[in-house]
């Protein structure tokens, strides 16, 4: 029994490790500086960083109050909203992109009014790419922070109570007690959301297109390069692998406890 389990576990490890090995084995190390330094790569890197960082900021600003409303209030309809929050995680990203197009496109439900009243067009723009990335990334942050708020709700209530009896007004309590207590969960949630935004492909290409220098992110550029210039695809993949590791390393204590 034990041997069978170990065999299958080993198979899983091979499945996870093999693609990375394959990627590194084919890496054109000598031409790497040229590939990474040219305009296509740099443009894609710039678009990717702008899209993912702005999306992370929006996630922080909108997601924190949402996590608070779900985790610390007894508002009606929380169950429905909670299901809605998880939806982008289970929805195929292409479907998400199409849905965004029907809602925010120039003929869409809201999009036609945005276009008519504000002259604001989202599809096939950098802003559209940011909206798509925010849509898919938001759940990761909200779930992490709401979970921390809910499991520690009693403790946070009590700590806030003590702080207030010591003479701290509500804003001081928020700044010196509540936020520091939630900081680890917020950091982890934000890192995951940002990584998800950086890797976003389906919703972006559906809603924002693939315009070099404007909406072409690293994943899109990689997919395109695979068909004509495999070496560039490898180089772009290396950039994203490095970014993924940079996010994973600070989180390893959370995910690999009891080392």
């Amino acid at each position: 029994m034990r041997r069978f389990l170990l065999a299958f576990a080993g198979l899983a490890v091979v499945l996870l490790a093999l693609p990375i090995v394959g990627l590194l084995q084919r890496m054109p190390w000598s031409s790497l500086p040229d590939l990474l330094g040219d305009d296509v790569t740099l443009d894609a890197l710039r678009v990717s960083l702008v899209v993912s960082l702005v999306a992370a900021l929006v996630v922080l600003v909108l997601g924190t109050p949402l996590a608070w409303a779900l985790g610390r209030t007894d508002l009606p309809g929380r169950r429905i909203v909670r299901a809605l929050v998880v939806l982008p995680m289970v929805l195929p990203p292409v479907v998400g992109g199409a849905a965004l197009l029907f809602a925010l496109g120039r003929r869409g439900l809201i999009g036609q009014w945005l276009d008519r009243w504000f002259g604001l067009t989202l599809p096939f723009t950098l802003t559209g790419a940011i909206v798509a990335a925010t849509f898919v990334a938001l759940p990761f942050y909200v779930i992490a922070v709401e979970g921390a708020l809910r499991t520690a709700r009693r403790e946070i209530d009590d700590l806030e109570g003590v702080a207030s009896t010591l003479g701290a007004p509500p804003l001081t309590v928020l700044r010196r007690i509540t936020l520091p207590r939630l900081l680890p969960a917020m950091g982890a949630g934000l890192a995951l959301a940002w990584a998800r935004a950086l890797g976003e492909f389906g919703a972006t290409i559906t809603f924002a297109g693939n315009l070099p220098g404007r909406t072409q992110t690293l994943p899109l550029a990689t997919f395109l390069a695979l068909q004509s210039e495999p070496e560039r695809a490898l180089a772009l993949s290396l950039v994203m692998l490095a970014v993924a590791l940079a996010v994973l390393l600070p989180l390893r204590d959370r995910w690999l406890p009891g080392r």
Binding site: E155, D158, L159, G161, V162, A163, S164, T165, L166, G167, A168, P169, P170, T172, V173, R176, I177, P180, R181
Partner: protein
């Protein structure tokens, strides 16, 4: 001007808390009650974390909660120091950071309190590196640092080590200590720390008075069973303790130094003549009072060990007990609980 005065009612779920309570400056009042009586809710109400449905609450002479007039002062504007049962130290701050948390608490005040409570060496430790007794001292120092008008203690010496108990008692009995309200389910803790006892049962005060009054005239079954315990101060050396009156009491377990001896009234056996047998504490006493307490009679004794015995009416009949009678009293060594002070 009272440090605290409450006459009011509030509801929380199934519990209806309806309490009249006054704490004078320099006074320590213990609210004694079983689990679920509303003790912790009472403290939260006083701190401003819960509010009254009717009545009024004043702290330091100023009304802080009066639904009739709409007056309500939030916790941070009330001058109370709350020491919760589970301490609730701020986990991300050091010991010194916890004690100095309150706005306006300066470094000298923090240093003075750390010193008074034997915490100076722990100033830069995190709460999770403190023992239970140390954490309790930090929580007390943190509450005292803001100079409260009234200190609210929730089960203050539950599971404390001797050193912590000693340091905390020292600070609480110091001249500059604020008025103190402590809630506890432990009658020994209540009787040793408090000038006055208030018994809380099912959200209402069932009895109030000095520990001696409450002990000698219990009004409810709960008080009779708990607050009716005999408490004697003594100094232990090995398996013998000597009381303030110079009486030797044999203990089952060895102890050293100042102790409280706790003897349940039902453990005091009364006899017409000197009993013989196993290692016992036996003495001759006079009956000073007889009080009915439900199906039992409480017999108040004087003599070398002034305690209360609780016996059946049949025993009183059989022994012919009345005020002024002389009896022999006996307590087994194993019935004497010994608590280090």
């Amino acid at each position: 001007m009272s440090a605290l005065s409450l006459a009011g009612m509030t509801r929380m779920g199934d519990l209806r808390l309806d309490v009249d309570l006054v704490v004078e400056p320099d006074e320590t009042v213990a609210v004694l009650g079983p689990n679920g009586a509303g003790k912790t809710s009472l403290l939260r109400l006083l701190a401003g974390l819960l509010s009254l449905d009717s009545g009024a609450l004043a702290i330091g002479g100023a009304t802080v909660d009066e639904p009739g007039t709409g007056a309500f002062l939030p916790p941070h504007l009330r001058r109370v120091g709350w020491v919760p049962q589970d301490r609730l130290l701020f986990p991300h701050l050091t010991v010194a950071g916890n004690v100095g948390f309150g706005p306006g608490v300066d470094a000298d005040r923090v240093a003075g309190l750390l010193d008074a409570l034997g915490l100076t060496g722990l100033a830069y430790r995190r709460p999770d590196e403190c023992s239970g007794g140390q954490a309790q001292r930090v929580a007390l120092a943190r509450a005292l640092a803001t100079d409260p008008v009234v200190l609210l203690l929730d089960e203050p010496s539950a599971a404390l080590d001797v050193e912590s108990r000693h340091l905390i008692n020292g600070v609480l009995t110091a001249a500059e200590a604020p008025a103190t309200l402590l809630v506890t389910h432990d009658p020994v803790e209540a009787a040793t720390l408090a000038d006055r006892l208030v018994v809380l049962e099912n959200g209402a005060v069932s009895q109030a008075g000095s520990p001696r009054e409450v002990r000698s005239r219990p009004k409810t079954r709960y008080v009779a069973s708990l607050a009716g315990l005999n408490l004697l101060e003594a100094t232990a050396s090995g398996t013998v303790a000597v009381t303030a009156l110079g009486t030797r009491v044999v203990l089952a377990e060895p102890a050293e130094g100042p102790v409280h001896l706790v003897v349940p009234p039902t453990a005091v056996a009364l006899h017409r003549s000197a009993p013989d047998g196993s290692p016992r504490n036996v003495w001759q006493a006079g009956v000073t009072d007889l009080q009915p307490a439900f199906e039992r009679i409480r017999v108040v004794l004087d003599g070398p060990l002034p305690v209360v015995a609780e016996v059946t009416p049949a025993a009183v009949e059989e022994l012919g007990l009345r005020v002024g009678s002389e009896v022999w009293a006996a307590v087994k060594a194993t019935e004497v609980a010994c608590h280090a002070i």
